[in-house]
């Protein structure tokens, strides 16, 4: 026994750690801080989010001010550092403002869908039997359609607009999240520690809120964070098709759509919104990878 005591983080004296209650999240953050790639992605995302939040103070020009004279100026033009679009609006300002809508369209559906889909999935996974059957088969109906097609179909049916776009994205993301939540819950439910919890007299509600949720929330959050990039891309796609955000509002997808016609004249300008979408979704993906390894307690 004594040798085990020695090898187990031997340098720290007993008394120091007694009062310190180490939380799971502290450990996660400690591991994250040692992962340079994830930290870089987090920094880029933080910068994009901050820029989007403080857009009115940061944007050098009015993103909606058109000018027939300075249309499609190349990047590097004094006063318009990233050039102008086909209506002479400042690209930099529009990209900054566009981040607001694009991020909003990326986050909101995923957050709402995580709540709804996660709840449904955990209920289905823990209850099993008929309840599982009812919930999961209903979800399979949605699953039958490709996600982009489903989003287009729903927002097409509801009509263009931000709210309708959000609703369609939420409906698109509920099934995959519920599916992940259900499969993780089913896995956890059959583990010995759930039975052990029952053997120490824990009630059903207590087992779900304590043991099941805490074991399930990690995988669900990780999966959901990878969906944010998908959501940005689909939202951009909806705007591109004229189903999400409508002009003249700035949104990366919408900008990509309108600049598409100018791609032979000003290719760099036309590609810029795409670069923003790519960077943001890439960072979200890499960060969710980093989160997954950081949240694995056994890692």
């Amino acid at each position: 026994m004594s040798d085990q005591a020695a090898t187990f983080s031997g340098a720290i004296p007993d008394t120091v750690k007694t009062e310190r209650s180490r939380s799971f999240w502290q450990a996660v953050f400690r591991r994250l801080s040692r992962d340079p790639l994830t930290m870089i992605c987090a920094a880029i995302l933080l910068a994009i989010v901050l820029i989007a939040i403080f857009a009115p103070w940061i944007a050098p020009n009015d993103p909606y001010k058109t000018s027939m004279v300075r249309r499609l100026k190349p990047p590097g033009t004094p006063g318009y550092w990233l050039g102008t679009d086909e209506l002479g609006r400042d690209m930099l300002s529009r990209l900054i403002y566009g981040g607001r809508l694009s991020l909003f369209m990326g986050f909101t559906p995923v957050v709402v869908a995580t709540f709804i889909g996660g709840t449904l999935g955990v209920i289905a996974g823990y209850a099993g039997g008929r309840i599982n059957m009812a919930i999961m088969r209903l979800i399979d109906v949605f699953y039958a359609f490709p996600s982009v097609l489903l989003a287009v179909a729903i927002s097409g049916a509801l009509g263009a607009g931000i709210v309708n776009g959000l609703v369609s994205l939420i409906l698109v993301f509920i099934p995959p999240i519920a599916r992940v939540a259900e499969s993780v819950t089913t896995q956890v439910r059959t583990q010995d520690f759930i039975e052990a919890a029952r053997a120490t007299g824990a009630s059903g509600a207590r087992i779900v809120t304590g043991h099941v949720l805490s074991n399930v929330v990690g995988p669900i959050l990780i999966y959901a964070s990878s969906l944010i990039s998908v959501s940005i891309v689909i939202a951009s796609g909806l705007s591109f098709l004229g189903l999400g955000v409508s002009p003249p509002l700035a949104d990366w997808g919408l900008m990509l759509n309108t600049l598409r016609q100018s791609i032979y004249i000003a290719p760099v300008n036309a590609v810029l919104p795409g670069v923003m979408i790519f960077t943001t979704s890439m960072c979200f993906n890499l960060m969710s990878d980093g989160l997954r390894s950081a949240m694995d307690v056994k890692g």
């Binding site: 026994m1 004594s2 085990q4 005591a5 187990f8 983080s9 720290i12 007993d14 008394t15 750690k17 007694t18 310190r20 209650s21 180490r22 799971f24 583990q191 010995d192 520690f193 039975e195 052990a196 919890a197 029952r198 053997a199 120490t200 007299g201 824990a202 009630s203 207590r206 304590g210 043991h211 805490s214 074991n215 990690g218 307690v297 056994k298």
Partner: protein, 350 residues
Amino acid sequence: MTNDQLHGASSGDAATSAPLVDVRDLSVRFVSRDMDVSVVNGVSFELREGEVLCLLGESGSGKSVTMRSLMRLLPHTAQLGGSVSIGGLDILGMPARQLSTIRGSLVSMIFQEPMTALDPVFTIGQQIVETVRCHEGCSRSDARRRALELLELVQIPSAARRLDAYPHELSGGLRQRAMIALALSCRPRVLLADEPTTALDATVQIQVLLLLRELQRELGMATIFVTHDLGVACEVADHVAVMYAGRFIETGAVGDVLNRPHHPYTVGLMRSTVHGGQRGTTLEPIPGAPPDLRSLSTGCAFAPRCGEARPPCLTAMPELVEAAPGQTARCIKYGAATTYAAAGTFQAAV
């Protein structure tokens, strides 16, 4: 008083107090759409405070299911029959809500695999604190103090630090000790141990066994041990019940059963086990495989593998009868009827 009782012939002073655990004719069937298996077929025993009963048997003999029935920790497909009473409470007829109040406090359980039986995302301390608070409703700091006492009780070195350790940060032996601490956290009167040392290596096994025996004596718990390891049984048990195909086939004090087995299965079990003074001799395995519980014959379940089987063995399941003072065996040889002695062996009959 039937012969099925384990302590029918136990000493007088123990018989005066009411048994803490009283199991009568327990049967467990797993019924679902495509299966109907009788796993436990009429098990009866009594257990008093401070006694240790060891359920011995091979895989699938129903020993774990018997033990889990004591806290009704079975899947929904299980149908239980007979009666189980612990501390005067009827376990089988109890509503689910009341059941969760007695689990952990009246009856508690140690699992076989401490790695999977502890929740990986909570520290040892958090798990014990939660259980203590759930049952005793005390403050977090009181519960933490109790958790610390418990870790010291199960002899975990530098207990204060281990409270904040996650299960994966502990070695197998320490993890099992933590599991024991968790099981003892609400002062159970009956402790169930499901092969608590199977997942551990040999040197740690004996440490954990000695600890369990010590704790059991110190806290005066009635304990039921499930194992297929005869060495473990010798080490901890007062009484042994050998199970085969969901029935007790031999019961008695540990020394009597292991030294003078009566049932042919127990005899075979002893012959096929390595123990002292056997160098150079060949072990005699029991031929055949355990019976298929889905299609049990009407006769003695062990008869197809039994070297002493005679035609009457196949007609009816023998009762558990007294084979020696304080020792019972479910074999026709020891029954009152003389059909066995009268019948010839199979070779002679065929």
